[in-house]
Amino acid sequence: MKPAPFDYARARSVEHAVELLGREGARVLAGGQSLIATLNMRLSHPSLLVDINEIAGLDRIARRNGHIEIGALVRHAQAERAADIAQAAPLVARALPHIGHPAIRNRGTIGGSIAFADPAAELPACLLALAGEVEIAGPAGKRSVKADDFFHGLFETALGPSDVLTAIRLPVATRDTRVGFAELARRHGDYAMVGLAAAARANGKKLGDVRLAFFGVGATPVRARHAEEALAAGDLETGVKALDRNLDPPDDVQATGTVKKHLAGVLLCRVARQLSEPVA
């Protein structure tokens, strides 16, 4: 199908984008790999698209004060090639190849994936597992929101209608950092039936600060807190059992909730193995 008519404006700066977004029915256009598909299918009908692709400086990757900041317009393919991300954000590096296909990753952006907040998408779960932060510019100025407070509901986030996500910030991996990533999809590049992004800190032979962010199991990426505690106590079996309490995946076109719950346990075992080894 073809999109319904809309207006289009190129933002010259973040401030200009925020100003343009003040119009009723305006939406940000970044990589467009989800948005334009929904326009073509007439699932969304904005009155104005505010194209942020030409704003200079939003495509940078920089290390600052123990964090790595990834600009909103960094393309997935650019992030895949970035040595800084491989080193400082190994969880993101592991997740990136699972996103769509090469042509999608050439155009899709890190900021777009987070802002769109598809509950079955990889990067929102990574942000949550890493306890990252989201940098936002809005009518009242700049602010940052912690990942735990960012995802509100199905495709709903802390972003207001006139807000622009400008970057995400992740803690730089250290020697003690452990990460794990696994997902099950029917075909490579499809949205996951179930996925898991995880981070922890090695403390001798034990794990601390375990954060398990499941995706494809609810309206947002979901932390499995009892399973986190069990893994920190070195008890994987209890962790898998705890998923029964922590996750309540609804049935969808991919699988029933019961199947998803079972698969979540399978993934937890795989990821626990990854967490037991240093990041290569």
Partner: protein
């Protein structure tokens, strides 16, 4: 919903046209410029038949708006083919019977060319993964993977 004046480079030539904001890049190329080598399949980014190069990288022509290409460089299968850069790949697709209806072929060529541009000989699994965003309904992919692998080997042999 006014028309937008855009100026872009298509296959090395400057093009100036007025487009509606909602016109996708692939529709612009086909309907306005008559470049029908880029095909329209699913129109939501799944099948890959609309693949074109934007500023040197392969993108979905159905998930890019023509108006976004103002000031940018687009290359289609027509340009890539005329340049001769795909000649060995095209010839090997023919000899390996890596197409039947040909609907997916222009996009398969552009995507395979991007993989081959890395310069190594990718594994068959890596070829399949790279082409996973391009759907083919007739040849079952096997001959396509054969062709891409054969070109990678031939190019590696030719340079070593």
């Amino acid at each position: 919903m006014s028309a937008h004046e855009i100026t872009l480079t298509v296959n090395g030539e400057e093009v100036r046209e007025a487009v509606d904001a909602r016109t996708t890049l692939v529709d612009f190329l086909r309907d306005t410029l008559g470049l029908t080598g880029s095909h329209v399949g699913c129109e939501h980014g799944v099948c890959g038949t609309c693949s074109v190069r934007l500023d040197g990288v392969v993108v979905r022509g159905c998930l890019t708006l023509a108006v976004q290409c103002d000031g940018h460089k687009v290359e289609t299968i027509e340009g890539a083919s005329d340049s001769g850069a795909l000649a060995d790949l095209q010839e090997t697709f023919r000899t390996r019977n890596a197409l039947q209806c040909g609907y997916c072929t222009p996009a398969m060529l552009l995507t395979a060319a991007e993989l081959l541009a890395r310069g190594d000989v990718p594994s068959r699994a890596a070829i399949r993964e790279y082409l996973s965003g391009n759907y083919c309904r007739c040849t079952g992919y096997h001959a396509i993977v054969d062709a891409v692998e054969a070109v990678a080997r031939a190019r590696a042999g030719a340079t070593s």
